[in-house]
Amino acid sequence: MIDLENISFDHCIKCTVCTIYCPVARVTHHFPGPKQSGPDTERLRIKNPELLDDSLRYCTNCKRCEIACPSNVKIADIIQSSKWKYFKKKFRIRDYFLSHTDLMGSVAVNYATLVNFFTGLPPVKFLLDAVFLIPSKRTFPKYARGTFRKWFRKYAQKKQAAFGTRVTYFHGCFVNYNDHSLGKDLVTVLNAMNIGVDITRERCCGVPLIANGYIGKARKNARYNIASLQKAVVDPGSRIVTTSSSCAFALKYEYANLLEMDNSSIFNQLNYITRFIYDQFQAGNAPPMKPVTIRAAYHSPCHLERMGGVIHTIDVLRRVPGLELQILHSECCGIAGTYGFKKEYYDVSQKVGGALFKRIERVRPDFVITDCETCKWQIEMSTPYKVLHPVNILARAFER
């Protein structure tokens, strides 16, 4: 029997508008585009899974097709769920390592200097390329020494009790294992706004697991995170924030739509950080900022676009005195999480981002600003510019 709940593909009127705005179909003829890979062939796959076409692996799950669709078809969700429903499970050590970010991170931070040194060595890169199909041209994000949680417990946690209002911070893997400074800056910013920060138990939000087909594990993490976070927001006034736009997107939308989990107990209280700060500013909690003298180009990540969060980031940034902000035309950077770390997609990934890189070069900013850590890796690797998070900018403006 066909599941009658899942017939959003039937609303597709075959207008092909999604394919126009697909960043992957734009650069490669090997991807037939979201219409064909999604609603067109879903009806075939439902009848007979043998009719699965390998080309739908090219989809990066950027969700731009869903933004473009005039008929409200969940095109990217259809393609994503087909990937894990119909492809035969094959264990691939590379995909396992790329997607289990918290496992990798918790080991690597103990030997960060060593790991960073080795992953930068040409012979190691050559080996990774030849054996594991991780492109040698790709630079690896650096691991930090120790975890953000450890730092937070040691240096920040005690001071937080002094604040009457506190929020729960879902820091995610990137802050915990790669970039403590973003987490530290978040504490600076919220404390400057007279808000304390709590952390609670969390696991990887599941974005890389979903992308690599580890759906069982993704659901397990989702269940864990929902249970842990809902304990933190028993009081309806309490809030959860994240500094990763993709974590926020997963916790709010991928959990409900793709993993079919009930996240209603946290949905309304959980927000990406700039939305939270925007609301605070609107409510009058806007401490004075000092000028920053930065000329920056802002890149809006796909998942933030899908959530409709871009206007909050732009609004918050526009309030920073001295920040000269150039908004870049909204385009995918191409990395799509772990996609750009795979040899078979590396060239596509770089081509997708090509237009964005050119635009950044034309602006010649001091910095690029974006909300997503993987966009940051992609832009830092492919352009000469350093990439900051909106919270990094706010921290500078709030610093005493």
Binding site: V17, T19, R26, N268, R306
Partner: protein
């Protein structure tokens, strides 16, 4: 969030209104759920093409002077003919600022060729569809080659030519056909691509293929002076590449609007969005307004799918959500509704009167003339019949006009968007 003007619907009408408001210094946001009907349009802008007897209108403004007097509920009558004219030339300037050339035949309509090979009267066209060189070539009955791209499924030159030759204007014109191929693609039948206009447009957008394409055009067109192709000559680089192709081939190259996705329509969409962003407007894409709250007879705020409980406030709201196709109107067993605010709708009853028994009825279908009832300022009416003075309805959402029968869809979208903007600017200023 707080704006002077919040527009629900990012189509032709909403964008025109947004550009006018933002350009006049009002803080303006547009919320858009999916791409608009411009992606399904001819890319020419019709003002009024046919009178009530389906006869072709050659001088639209003159016609409208008389017509609007007799049809006081028509959107053009609400705007006034002078505003209609002003709005169209405002649009032409907006597009010129984006380096998009729009051509008109003075105050008269001109014709564009359709994918079926029929002729349609229209007011504005893009350079590759109408300009003086093209009209001179038509007048001298220059030889035409209609070319197609092999593997492209949405255009059948033989059909178009048969229809064209039935038209008295083309009776003694020599028309040939030919095919272009893209060698790197191999056998198109085995390719996963299904060759829609967008796929071919991407080839034309890529400069390194132009020499090869030009050679093929020369070979296939032979001694024809005039080459007609479906509109797929690029999106980002269409202007430059169209010129390069004309230079390399020494022929006039004409674009025929084809089936969706409409490349000509997308160019308009791109240019308008780019202009709106350039002026500092905020486009909220991929979100849907779910409802709003009224206070003292005025709309206070709206809320959306993505923003959940957050309120979006504005001094004035514009509803340019389109007709049935775009979801601005919905029909069910009970009747026709406007789904966001349940505004009062003009429609006939019972259901059997909504459509004509023939699919291609020359008079068009009655449901095309349904829409949200407004006063002359385009304000909708509340349950008590009083106008809601800070909501303005524009474009295909409006009743009492038939875009298909009249050939007036584009003009009404632009004129009512502009008319609403003028009043909002006055009210906010």
């Amino acid at each position: 969030m707080n704006y002077d003007c919040l527009i629900v619907g990012g189509g032709f009408s909403g964008l025109t209104c947004g550009i006018r408001c933002q350009g006049a210094g009002l803080s303006t946001a547009i919320i858009s759920a999916g791409m608009s009907a411009l992606h399904f349009s001819s890319g020419s802008i019709d003002l009024v093409g046919y009178d009530h007897e389906r006869k072709i209108v050659y001088r639209p403004f003159e016609y409208l002077e008389k017509f609007t007097g007799a049809a006081p509920d028509h959107p053009y009558a609400h705007c006034g003919v002078e505003t209609v004219r002003e709005s169209l030339f405002f649009l032409k300037d907006v597009l010129a600022a984006e380096e998009m050339e729009i051509h008109n035949n003075g105050d008269e309509n001109h014709f564009h060729v359709t994918g079926m090979g029929t002729l349609k009267p229209t007011f504005f066209s893009q350079r590759s569809v109408f300009n003086s060189a093209i009209s001179q070539a038509f007048a001298r009955k220059a030889k035409i080659a209609v070319l197609n791209f092999e593997g492209y499924r949405d255009f059948y030159p033989e059909l178009a030519i048969t229809n064209l030759l039935n038209n008295s204007l083309f009776r003694d014109v020599e028309i040939s056909t030919g095919k272009l191929v893209f060698p790197d693609y191999g056998d198109p039948q085995k390719n996963p691509f299904e060759y829609r206009s967008i796929d071919v447009a991407r080839i034309f957008d890529t400069i390194q293929y132009l020499d090869e394409i030009a050679e093929q055009i020369k070979r296939e067109a032979g001694d024809a002076e005039f080459v007609a192709m479906p509109a797929f000559i690029g999106i980002q680089n269409y202007k430059k590449h169209h010129q390069i192709l004309q230079m390399l081939t020494g022929k006039l190259i004409y674009e025929i609007p084809a089936l969706p996705p409409s490349i000509l329509g997308m160019r308009l969409d791109d240019a308008l969005k780019s202009r709106f962003a350039e002026l500092g407007g905020v486009l909220i894409a991929g979100d849907m307004v779910k409802g709003g709250d009224f206070r003292g007879g005025l709309l206070d705020h709206v809320h959306t799918q993505n923003y959940g409980t957050a309120r979006l406030r504005a001094k004035a709201f514009v509803l340019s959500t389109g007709s049935f196709f775009s979801g601005g109107l919905v029909s069910d067993a009970r009747g026709i509704r406007e789904p966001i605010f349940d505004l009062r709708v003009s429609a006939t009853s019972p259901r059997s009167t909504w459509h004509s028994p023939q699919f291609l009825d020359r008079k068009g279908h009655p449901f095309l003339e349904f829409g949200v009832e407004t006063n002359g300022r385009l304000n909708p009416l509340d349950a008590g019949g009083n106008p809601v003075e800070n909501i303005f309805c524009t474009g295909a959402l409006l009743p009492h006009y038939n875009p298909i029968r009249e050939g007036s869809g584009g003009g009404v979208a632009v004129a009512t968007g502009f008319h609403a903007a003028n009043q909002i600017i006055k009210a906010c200023g």
